[in-house]
Subunit: 401 residues, 2 copies
């Protein structure tokens, strides 16, 4: 009898956890497991803002997939997913095809510009290792030009979006600024960091006391906030913004778009019913009408008991991976009961640079070093789940103070 | 009786050596000495190619002037020289004026593009700390874009000129390439480094055996040489070159112009008779018809016994500084005889990265580590002359092997 073939596409938080849980739960005789990813490495997308600001090297953020998974139990294929043909139970890759009995889709997120003119062409996003590194080098190059060109806009960085990514990026940026001022012999007073947010507050949905702490911390370090201000257009010169129908141009050589993400467009293109690349899953994390297709991470739209979708985070993706691995084990063995997914929200921490943060953990508000400490504990716990204590030692955040 | 006022404009090799020699030879009661420079720092222009390639940080190349000179004996003014009014014995600065009894002009070199179309706009030069740092960051930024844009020309660097600067820059560049390939996840085979030289040979005027060694060393490390090939035009896309009237476009995101230097244009603008910013000096290093104006370094055109001008090098600038300081001492004291300048050519070494070089020292050809060793001895000797053993320890090249 042929062994069931499990194919996992995408090695983000969800895909990786699904894979390492499966290789623990199933023996090599029970299933053929294949993990597909476009890069040879997995990266922690929640650390990318640090790579983009240049406070953490991207090699700290990524892990060689072959060193994390057990290659005697899991086949790793480095290739790009081109199409998913669910009727044929087949995944088309750039250089081949894979047939599956069970598929796990974890293709991650993409930047979403909501059709705002010029953003795709003129703004940088913090979406993956390549784009984060490019943003870092772009900003540094603009700074390097100041000494010869003396144009003030070379020293202006505008961040669109005061959500998690925007705020965490700003926290790293202000921390790095003294180093950049020295490296490029810049006049500190000429450096401008502006954050534009269309919503009436920064960090929408967060506790007001935490928002107040975060905003005043960043303002003290020089960030100018433009709250309730919408981006109308990005141009080669910077941004056109509007508040209460009053238009303004902010000249800036570096524009970062950190206000929108969506699931991978391939999910819709493959014929699944999806909203911005995300599929509303059944209670077992499967695509409706496809009992052999699981969704994890940004590909999965999961509704909470209040009827609202949970925001896609690393935390929920990791928990989904656990559930999916368990359910796949039940299906492969043909015994036991499928387990419904239930999100256990342990809390959220938003970092403000490596030594400061705000958050709510186990229902308790945290500020400053306590929140920062907790953030690092969370990051290290993920590495522990993924690869045990050795991986924590190698890639963990051990600079606690 | 008023003390004679000596003003030295420009803190390059020649200006710095003149200053430190003067502060040693003259007592504070004998003269007022003022050094003017546009930056607060002196830099070793012969190391700039390393800063530009990114193999040496520019802070290693520059020295805080106030830490090298004796500020109890020399006034340091950080300002830009706007005009030299030799009839009024006056130097006009950006923020003031200085009167002098004796003037030493050491304003250094500028890049010279010989009117080749587009070079000023599209090519980088290795002229000072700012331009070297900008070139480094530009190349890195182009490399960072490759992962997202996949355009081959982003990974092409073209160097115009196979003279000293071009060859030494290439030597550093090939040495750094493995690091850059790793940093930016580049396919090594896509990286192209091309050197275009109009003359029929690289390193024109150098010993053929040394040229052969240098070229084959760089070719082995992947440099493509286009000898006897002229640059016709620089465009936003790269270079148009021609060999025997056959035109070719070399697409490149990074174009470096390393084939021409001239003296500072201010020298001509101030009414001195000059050729490309260089004044043919009398035997005592003075401007003809101006017994109170000395020229040092790139500002001075010095003819050898065969009737040909010496190329402007750090070595000759340093020796000129010694002669000028001695002659100023004679003039200030009103006794003794002026000393004619005689260049004592100790040799020339062209580095090929930090561990290889070619050169001729005391008439002997040197290759490989011996030449490289000698280059570092020369560099350290200059620092010793400037600031003694402590400066050698602080800024010297002590990585001998």
């Amino acid at each position: 009898m042929r062994k069931p073939r499990i194919v996992i596409v995408g090695a983000g938080y969800g895909g990786m956890i699904t894979t390492v849980r499966l290789q623990k739960l199933l023996s090599v005789n029970e299933a053929d497991i294949t993990l597909v990813n476009n890069n040879s490495y997995h990266y922690q997308s929640t650390w990318l803002h640090e790579n983009a600001a240049g406070t953490l090297h991207h090699d700290k953020t990524r892990l060689n997939i072959r060193e994390v998974i057990d290659t005697s139990k899991v086949n790793f294929v480095q290739d790009t997913v081109v199409d998913i043909r669910s009727k044929e139970k087949r995944v088309v890759l750039g250089n081949g095809e894979l047939e599956y009995d069970y598929l796990v889709i974890g293709l991650g997120f993409e930047s979403e510009t909501f059709g705002i003119k010029g953003l795709k062409e003129h703004a940088f996003s913090i979406s993956n290792i390549n784009s984060a590194r490019q943003l870092r080098d772009h900003m540094e190059y603009m700074f390097s030009r100041y000494a010869t060109e003396k144009r003030d806009e070379l020293l202006t960085v505008v961040v669109g979006g005061a959500g998690f990514t925007g705020i965490e990026y700003l926290g790293e940026l202000v921390n790095r600024m003294p180093e950049l001022v020295k490296e490029y012999d810049l006049p500190r007073e000429k450096v401008r960091i502006v954050c534009v947010e269309a919503a009436p507050t920064a960090l929408p949905g967060f506790d007001p006391a935490l928002i107040e702490y975060a905003v005043s911390h960043l303002e003290k370090k020089g960030v100018e906030f433009r709250i309730g201000t919408a981006i109308k257009e990005a141009t080669p010169e910077g941004l056109i913004v509007a508040k209460d129908d009053k238009m303004e141009e902010i000249k800036a050589a570096t524009v970062v778009w950190a206000a929108g993400v969506r699931g991978n467009a391939l999910v819709e293109q493959s014929g699944f019913e999806a909203m911005r690349g995300r599929i509303k899953v059944d209670e077992f994390m499967r695509a409706p009408g496809h009992d052999d297709v699981f969704l994890v991470g940004d590909a999965a739209l999961v509704f909470g008991p209040e009827g609202r979708p949970y925001p896609p985070t690393a935390q929920i993706a990791i928990q989904e991976g656990y559930t999916i691995a368990k359910n796949l084990t039940v299906l492969v063995r043909g015994k036991g009961e499928l387990e419904p997914f239930a999100f256990d929200n342990k809390g959220t921490v938003c970092s403000l640079g490596h030594d400061d943060a705000v958050g709510i953990v186990f229902g308790k508000l945290l500020f400053g070093w306590k929140a920062s400490f907790m953030k690092k504990v969370i990051d290290n716990r993920y590495l522990f789940l993924l690869g045990g204590p050795l991986l924590v030692l190698k890639k963990g955040k051990l600079n606690f103070f």
